[in-house]
């Protein structure tokens, strides 16, 4: 259950970060490739979470995305119309 919470947050953060573009997206996406490599190696042998644990730190790099997503959501909801502010800058 604990692990499930972490994974949900990581996926949430990743989705938000991947929408942002730029280096953040490149690095988080690249780290996911490293994770896939480890995942494949783990599936090849006995599939223990212990073998995946080393890459969890890499996945946690996406957690600030959760914070940013929440901030963006809060700002959007705080608008009277519930709509985003003028997108022009």
């Amino acid at each position: 259950l604990i692990q499930f919470v972490y994974l949900v947050l990581i996926i949430w953060g990743t989705v938000h970060v991947l929408r942002q573009g730029g280096d953040v997206r490149r690095m988080i996406a690249g780290n996911w490739l490293v994770v896939l490599n480890f995942w494949a190696m783990t599936v090849l042998v006995i599939p223990l979470f212990r073998y995946m644990l080393p890459v969890m730190g890499l996945l946690m790099l996406a957690l600030p995305g959760v914070y940013l997503a929440l901030q963006a959501r809060r700002q959007t909801l705080s608008l009277p119309s519930g709509q985003p502010v003028n997108s022009d800058y």
Partner: protein, 680 residues
């Protein structure tokens, strides 16, 4: 939030007239004279290598000079254009005018004598004024104004800044409350526009700070005076070839769904763009933003986009569109801003954060381990007891990487070598093994936390990078894993160090070739601790080929990828050569691969005393038993692969189910039922 300004033709006409009366006529020039402006419009492609870097605007008698091509080598051409077009006066960003003047003075060039040079859009600094005056042999005058047309001021011939009351009413209010401050005291400049009836701005916060003056001017004009305008000092961005770009903030002004943004020049070739995305922001907008910056700086400027929730303000609360941490001199002379106050402060802050995280990690780990029941605190790692420690002892005894006299190939040698080093240090300080192992685990646990922070800093601000570091150091499974000397304990920091160096090169220092080699070496070292990192070097090499397209040419990308692979091989080859010399076999880092693969095909069906029972479909159990019976055929990794393919062909449904179980269990599966301890 961006402001859309509505202006009628009458307003524009009135504004132009006011400028004519106050900025031109005061200094003996008029709109009928031929003049030049150094501004932010893109009048020549930024990658243009030869003149013209300007366009002639016949309707306005205006020579529009590009502010993006002010490299020293181009200045003579600019001067030639001023001569050729018989320019009488010059208007523009003071930083750009200063750049022109600087080169004129440094290279002793002949510049046309002008009637006046007028600065706008940026504060005019004293040294800039002196240099421009010396170069063009004319007075230099400052103006204050804004696109919103709510306030304006211009300097008279005595050097005093007169407010233009027709443009708007200016108030200087206290920072903390909305009350005027006395003359001579700085405060927020709030303006009420009087010129623009189409869209009047009332008590508009300009974002500038100013000081009113109670004095009268020697010039005889009765217009109120501003003693100074503060806080409009946007740093210029300096490119590697020496071009000074005074304003980059127009890149955000168009149609991007960004609430606010700030450009920070971190290095000669690195711009970090902090931006607060609107809800409709997408990756395409990010690419467009990068392209707009590149249009002005050139493609060799690395642009890092960093989403933030708000843009930090300066100490006086002012928003700064552009901040440069680079000295305003040639990059070749000074290099990156290692010695600047800014960087030193930043480094000091980072050092405190890193040290704090390391100490916090030690404390959290120590508390977690001390709270564990006694039964959990013992070292339960059979691999450690049966292999890693004996091999480490053999290394210490000078017997090499051996176990009971034979070369130890069941696992790669990295962890045992690190343990041997730790034990040797322990001997030097007369420490018992338990203390050595405790220090070993604490050190590498702390190091991994610091590296998570370092990785985060590559893409996040310090505060945001703290989130993953904090999450990692309190992650219960990480704390559990490091409670005993598992090979993962040093494996994790080596893995993170390798990935950190790789991303540092790939994202920030694409031409730092040594970093690619180091990344490869560290990846190799990681593989020598645990073979699960097999493929990391190849993966990084592939990544640099794919993501390096923004920064490196094809040949350079292959060179970088080659360096990673070379480093990887250099780290691994001595071990491989040693094994080959002793056994005549080439092994994929260890000989444990085939056995582990066999275990991975049978673990849920074939009982072992330390395994928990797990319910699985009958056909999967049957398949696992089949694999178990065929174990003798799976002596090597290749043989195991052949058997797996064979069974997958004969029983695809069960095989797919087995793979699905393995894929899912990778994220939660445990095995440790040992010494009456429950698994995590």
């Amino acid at each position: 939030m961006p402001l859309h300004l509505w202006l009628s033709k009458e307003t524009v006409r009135a504004w132009f007239a006011l400028f004519e009366a106050r900025a031109r006529c005061w200094h003996g020039v008029s709109r009928m004279d031929r003049w030049a402006i150094l501004g932010g419009q893109l009048v020549a492609p930024v990658d243009r290598q030869r003149p013209p870097y300007w366009v002639w605007n016949t309707a306005l008698n205006q020579l529009y000079l590009s502010a993006y091509h002010l490299a020293p080598a181009n200045i003579p051409a600019y001067l030639g254009a001023l001569q050729q077009h018989k320019v009488v006066y010059l208007l523009g960003y003071p930083s750009g005018l200063y750049r022109l003047a600087q080169v004129v003075l440094e290279q002793n060039l002949t510049a046309p004598k002008l009637k006046v040079a007028i600065g706008n859009a940026e504060p005019l600094l004293d040294h800039q004024r002196e240099a421009i005056a010396a170069a063009f042999g004319c007075p230099v005058r400052e103006t204050y104004g804004m696109a919103e047309i709510a306030a304006a001021a211009g300097e008279c011939e005595t050097g005093r800044l007169h407010i233009w009351p027709e443009a708007g009413h200016i108030e200087v209010l206290a920072d903390e409350y909305n009350a005027p401050v006395d003359s001579g005291r700085a405060g927020r400049l709030v303006a009420t526009g009087l010129l623009n009836a189409d869209m009047p701005l009332i008590r508009y916060e300009t974002g500038d700070r100013a000081t009113l003056s109670a004095h009268t001017c020697e010039c005889g004009r009765k217009l109120p005076l501003l003693e100074s305008i503060e806080g409009r000092v946007d740093d210029v961005v300096i490119t590697r070839d020496g071009r000074h770009i005074g304003r980059l903030d127009p890149v955000f002004k168009a149609d991007l769904p960004i609430r606010e943004a700030q450009i920070i020049q971190e290095d000669w070739a690195v711009l970090r763009v902090l931006y607060v995305p609107a809800a409709t922001y997408s990756a395409q907008d990010g690419e467009m933003l990068i392209q707009r910056v590149h249009d002005r700086t050139g493609e060799d400027m690395k642009v890092i986009l960093e989403p933030v929730t708000e843009i930090p303000r300066t100490a006086n609360g002012k928003f700064r569109a552009v901040i440069s941490h680079v000295r305003q001199s040639s990059p070749d002379k000074t290099g990156p801003l290692k010695n600047s106050i800014m960087t030193r402060k930043s480094n000091k802050h980072e050092s405190f954060v890193v040290l704090g995280l390391f100490v916090l990690s030690l404390v959290v780990s120590a508390v977690f381990w001390s709270l564990l029941p006694a039964g959990f605190r013992d070292n339960q790692s059979t691999d450690y007891l049966n292999h890693y420690e004996p091999v480490a002892r053999a290394i210490l005894a000078g017997q090499g990487i051996t176990l009971e006299g034979d070369i130890a190939t069941r696992y790669p040698p990295g962890f045992s070598m690190l343990l041997a080093g730790a034990f040797r240090i322990g001997e030097l300080f007369n420490l018992d093994d338990e203390t050595v192992l405790l220090a070993f685990r604490l050190f590498f646990a702390g190091l991994s936390v610091v590296l998570v922070y370092a990785l985060g800093r590559l893409i996040w601000t310090s505060a945001l990078a703290f989130i993953p570091a904090l999450a990692w150091l309190t992650y219960p499974f990480f704390l559990w894993l490091t409670k005993q000397p598992n090979s993962e304990v040093p494996f994790i920091p080596f893995l993170y160090a390798s990935i950190f160096v790789f991303w540092l090169a790939a994202l920030h220092k694409p031409r730092a070739w040594g970093l690619y080699l180091i990344a490869g070496l560290l990846a190799g070292a990681t593989m020598l601790i645990r073979p699960s990192a097999l493929g990391l070097g190849v993966l990084m090499a592939g990544l640099v080929l794919v993501i390096g397209h923004r920064m490196l040419a094809v040949r350079a990308r292959f060179w970088a990828a080659g360096l990673i692979l070379m480093g990887n091989l250099l780290a691994v080859l001595p071990w491989e050569a040693s094994v080959y010399a002793r056994t005549g076999h080439v092994i994929p880092l260890s000989t444990g691969g085939a056995i582990t693969i066999q275990d991975g095909l049978t673990f849920l069906a074939v009982p072992k005393e330390y395994r928990r029972e797990v319910r699985i479909p009958d056909d999967v159990a049957a398949l696992m038993w089949t694999f178990h019976e065929r174990r003798p055929e799976m002596a090597s990794t290749g043989d195991a692969a052949a058997v797996v393919l064979d069974e997958a062909r004969h029983n695809p449904a069960a095989f797919i189910k087995l793979m699905a179980i393995k894929v899912a269990r990778s994220w939660y599966g445990s095995i440790a039922v040992f010494m009456n301890c429950r698994p995590f």
